[in-house]
Amino acid sequence: MTIKGMAYIAGAFEHPTRKAPDKSVAALHAECAKGALEDAGLTFADVDGYFCAGDAPGGVLSMVDYLGLNVRHVDGTDTGGSSYIAHVSHAAQAIAAGKCNVALITMAGRPRSEGRSGVKQKLVGANVPDTPFELPFGPTAVNEYAMATMRHMYEYGTTSEQLAWVKVAASHHAQYNQNAMLRDLVTVEDVVSSTMIADPLHKLDCCVVSDGGGALVIVRPEIAKSLNRPQVRVMGAGEAPKGLLGGKTDLTYSGAIWSGPRAFEEAGVTPQDIKYASIYDSFTITVLMQLEDLGFCKKGEGGKFVADGNLISGIGKLPINTDGGGLNNNHPASRGGIVKVIEAVRQLRGEAHQKVQVENCDIALAHGTGGGLASRHGSSTLIMERV
């Protein structure tokens, strides 16, 4: 079975808020759900499949109850920030298998209002097998990604200046996004002279901490064709968790080396066919490493690939994250995967800001790395086309 052509992304909504001290997380989920259903031209009564991850308070049971859904298929897969990209694939699979017709995916959170950030130690539950051998050492989001960066620099000669270009591209795009949390243009010099947080990652190598959320509606092809919206079809997807490999640890690559080829094979396209890519940007290194692992350039050449504006729409060869990405626009609930799909949908529909809209954007990719790059992360790749 393949999901190619079996499902369409009919609705996409990114919550405009970046700070929501007066709203509950559940309320943000509900507002996102409403926004995505309205975008599709559907209603809550049409939803018969529901998908959410660890940010959803109370999980699928509380959320289905809270949203008043009457569903026959649920999925609470949690692979961190990459969850929602996997959910699109899972929804397409469920639709192809006849388990549902209209799948709703929601995510939302308030790390900014709640004072959480990537320099604080992670919260984990009891009985997790790896934590006794990691938590005493103070792993955080930023120092984990920093360790992967340090090794990448050692093996391939990647520089802080090259990494800074990822942020420069994000700021270039974000200046056109009214909702972006950070809209000022920055230079390579601004990035490398910003405060060092965890060597070798500077403050401007890190994504924003924002409140907000997003939602997607995935539907059966017949339903998509009956709606009055541009049609975005799912072409292929791949997933791959990666961990520390029992001590044969290698921090120079991500699970994208596995999820990427699976997605490209199913879609029947290659990296050269991708006109626009949403590439998870929790940190600048995340982008650089994923581009290598997905095959947009050779391993070790990510530094050269991202430099000199190559990721800027209208200037470079591969425009990415034209909303400003997690680095400048939004990283709601510290999980950016859903925003990655939403901006890819905007590009495929021709609804991105005109200053960043990619010409003839017929095939796009969204990729997420959720979790820790120097511990365990989920990798999800999704390829979509405009019909």
Partner: protein, 137 residues
């Protein structure tokens, strides 16, 4: 002048039943790793099934306690500390902290030796944790 090592309160690890020997050895200054009786591979962190061949025949082995820094990062927010992965001379790479040194002198491939630091604090002391310190010369 860069940050020098400062003592920091380390989170007390949860003790799982199959790691009792590991923590007891740590309290005596010994670092245990698991070696598979079937495939011969070492692994870390320790499991009841070898993650390389899934055999249930594994044994505790005392590591030499020496290795080299595979990668590290110096956290500069709050009390500075160096998180790292050290490649043990037996092969496995393990998450750890680099301690008892000028943290600005660290580099990848630097030789290090295990040193145990107690987790928790005076009021609530926890198990000893394997950290590493640079080896002179």
């Amino acid at each position: 002048m860069g940050p020098t090592f400062q003592e920091r309160t380390m989170t007390i690890p949860e003790i799982h039943p199959e790691h009792k020997e590991y923590w007891e050895a740590a309290s005596e200054g010994k670092l245990l790793v698991k070696q598979c009786d079937s495939c011969g591979e070492y692994h870390y962190y320790p499991r009841v099934l070898c993650p390389h061949c899934m055999s249930d025949k594994t044994s505790w082995v005392e590591a030499k306690g020496t290795g080299s820094i595979y990668t590290y990062s110096l956290m500069r927010r709050g009390v500075p500390y160096a998180i790292a992965f050290v490649e043990l001379d037996e092969g496995p790479r393990m998450m750890t902290n680099i301690v008892d040194c000028d943290l600005d002198t660290l580099h990848i491939s630097q030789r290090v030796r295990v040193v145990f630091k107690q987790s928790g604090d005076q009021e609530n002391p926890g198990p000893f944790i394997p950290c590493f310190a640079p080896v002179e010369g």
